[in-house]
Amino acid sequence: MSSEAQHKDTVITRREFINVAAIGAAFLSLAAVFAGLFRFLKPKVAYEESTKFKIGAADNFPVGVVTKFDEKGVFVFSSEDGLYAISCVCTHLGCLVTLTEAGFDCPCHGSKFNKDGKVVGGPAPRALPWLQISRSVDGSLEVDTAKEVSAGTIFKIA
């Protein structure tokens, strides 16, 4: 056996190894605690309503009429071609836009959208999303606020 002094440059001493291992273990367990804390804080269940809701039969939407579903934050438009739904939640910071002659206005920070929901002014980073309309098994129409469709997608009633 050679003395520790001779090996000092190349060999990690037992003391150094244990020091590093202890400190490393402390930091690792701390990291585990923080990861656990994040997981603890992140809810597993959101007690919120379903994003999908029924809007009734197509007869409820005569051509040219706009129906607002306040609680869901959705406008349903009825045109010659069919129905389309546009979210009224502003893409900037989540206020609810109002319908105007030219399109939509947001009361909080002044975003402006045209009739198709496209941004024409203000800070909103994206157009108002068009939402999916589908027909449920009982014949009623449904809108899903979590499912976005590309702008211009019209649900044909015929």
Partner: protein
């Protein structure tokens, strides 16, 4: 035997007879403050007073030097703690009861409205006085020569003050609370604006993650209210009070408040203070030190300017008591006449129009109206970082403790005030009159607006101006004065625009009377 019993009972009887003296004496251990010795002993032996040194420099007692701003901030903080605990007796953090319990506090509980008003106004007062205190420390050049760390602690305290005010007005669950919670949570989500532009959102959606963590869901609801409540009554106050302790501790360790190197008391200054009885003994420049001597850095006023120091009892304590009484009187008088706002019950279906934050955030709201990410996250971070870096970028050691570092600094500050007003008002006027990129080219990519918007341009101008001043004067201190002055100025101007000149749909109006009637 009888003799010993007699003496035992006798001693007890004597003890009983003198109980008032010995009992009181155990509280007032230093005796009456009739000599310098006992006045010094009070400061050393009392837990609450030993935060001060036995002697205080006359310059620190000059109202014209400190303006009492830090003390006022601290006292307002104490008032919010006291009134806040009182409010917790009746407030109930649940969606069903929050609003009603605040109404009860306002209209039913004895003195409830006064306590709530005092809590609200002392909290908002903290914002004003913490800012003024920061400005005092900055302009008297007191953030350097060992005080860099305490300046950083102060910047953290400024941030905490804002966070406490913010979490406070989320609690009543009125229209302001609800829509502020919507907006704040979406600001937390706003890094998405950036990750969307870079196509990173599907790998790394930090925005949505932090929003969900904060709200405990996707929409503000009961769990969100619980979290905000915990932040407001436990988490943030405990951190604030601990850090305030560190802030005060550092003042002592950094050698007390700053003072000019060649300080000479004026006649006016001497008038304020009561001089020590005697000049000898422990009050000579040659006083001896204990273990304190071993501490690194500047221990309290060692051998410096001892002839300009006076006993803290009574000189400092009288001044502090006076400031406290003025604070209390001010808050109570203000709260008696002016009520804290309470809007109607939160309505998730209808935002207010305009939906305005309290005044101290309206400058930020103006910036938000250019870009959610830059206004809500990017620029505030740059501002806080800029404040934190000041003592490390300007390390000139001379002229510490002198307002504006002398005449040149005053000139630079006034110049920054004038130039800043012209440029910022001009920029804002142009934006209000002509709009911004999206108005001209609706198809412009979002990332361009995120990085080039009026807020960013203004911050860029401030930095360029500070560099220009630094180059012209050859002094980093002068550059810092220009930058800091413009920072304060923009806070004022943007707050004014947000408060007075913005109406429904965040459109421009000269005054509220021009708002369209709904």
């Amino acid at each position: 035997m009888s003799e010993s019993r007699n003496s035992g009972i006798g001693v007890l009887a004597d003890n009983l007879k003198s109980i008032w003296c010995s009992f009181a004496g155990s509280f007032f251990r230093a005796g009456k403050p009739t000599s310098d010795m006992s006045r010094a002993a009070i400061m050393v032996n009392n837990f609450f007073l030993h935060i001060h040194s036995v002697k205080t420099h006359i310059n620190s007692l000059r109202p014209g030097y400190t303006l009492g701003m830090g003390l006022i901030s601290m006292f307002l903080c104490l008032i919010t703690v006291g009134s806040g605990v009182a409010l917790m007796v009746y407030y109930n953090p649940s969606l069903e009861n929050a609003y009603n319990s605040v109404k009860d506090i306002n209209f039913v509980v004895f003195a409830g409205r006064l306590i709530r008003n005092a809590h609200k106004w002392a909290g908002e007062g903290m914002i004003v006085f913490v800012f003024l205190h920061m400005a005092r420390v900055f302009y008297t050049n007191s953030y350097k020569s060992g005080r860099e760390f305490n300046w950083l602690v102060g910047v953290v305290l400024l941030g905490l003050t804002f966070m406490l005010n913010l979490s406070g007005y989320l609690l009543p669950w009125d229209q302001l609370s609800y829509w502020a919670l919507v907006i704040v949570s979406n600001i937390m989500q706003s890094p998405k604006e950036l990750t969307d532009s870079l196509g990173l959102t599907k790998y790394f959606d930090v925005g949505s993650f932090s929003k969900e963590l904060f709200l405990a869901g996707l929409k503000p609801g009961k769990e969100a209210l619980t979290r905000v409540y915990l932040l407001h009554v436990v988490f943030l106050p405990v951190i604030l009070l601990v850090i305030i302790g560190v802030h005060f501790w550092r003042i002592r360790k950094d050698g007390g408040l700053t003072k000019p190197v060649n300080y000479a008391p004026k006649y006016d200054d001497i008038q304020y203070v009561i001089a020590p009885d005697k000049k000898g003994g422990i009050f000579t420049p040659n006083k001896t030190y204990g273990l304190m001597e071993l501490a690194k850095g500047k221990t309290p006023a060692v051998n410096i300017d001892v002839e300009h120091s006076v006993l803290s009892w009574p000189n400092l304590l009288i001044a502090e008591a006076a400031v406290f009484m003025l604070c209390m009187a001010g808050v109570i008088a203000y709260s008696y006449y002016i009520d804290a706002p309470l809007k109607e019950l939160a309505n998730p279906m209808i935002p207010e129009n305009p939906a305005k934050a309290p005044w101290y955030f309206l400058g930020l709201q103006e910036l938000l109206s250019y870009s959610a990410f830059m206004g809500g996250v990017g620029l505030p971070t740059i501002a806080l970082l800029g404040l934190a870096l000041i003592p490390f970028l300007d390390r000139e050691k001379d002229k510490v403790g002198i307002w504006f570092s002398g005449k040149q600094g005053k000139g630079v500050a006034i110049e920054a005030l004038i130039v800043g007003t012209i440029v910022l008002v001009g920029l804002m006027a142009a934006v209000i009159a002509f709009g911004w990129f999206r108005t001209w080219w609706p198809d412009i990519p979002q990332i361009v607006i995120t990085f080039i918007n009026p807020g960013v341009i203004w911050v860029g101008f401030m930095i360029l101006w500070a560099l220009f001043v630094t180059g012209r004067t050859g002094s980093t201190r002068m550059g810092a004065i220009a930058l800091f002055t413009m920072f304060l100025l923009s806070y004022l101007i943007l707050t004014y625009i947000g408060t007075e000149l913005r109406g429904p749909n965040w459109a421009f109006y000269w005054s509220k009377s021009q708002w369209p009637a709904h």
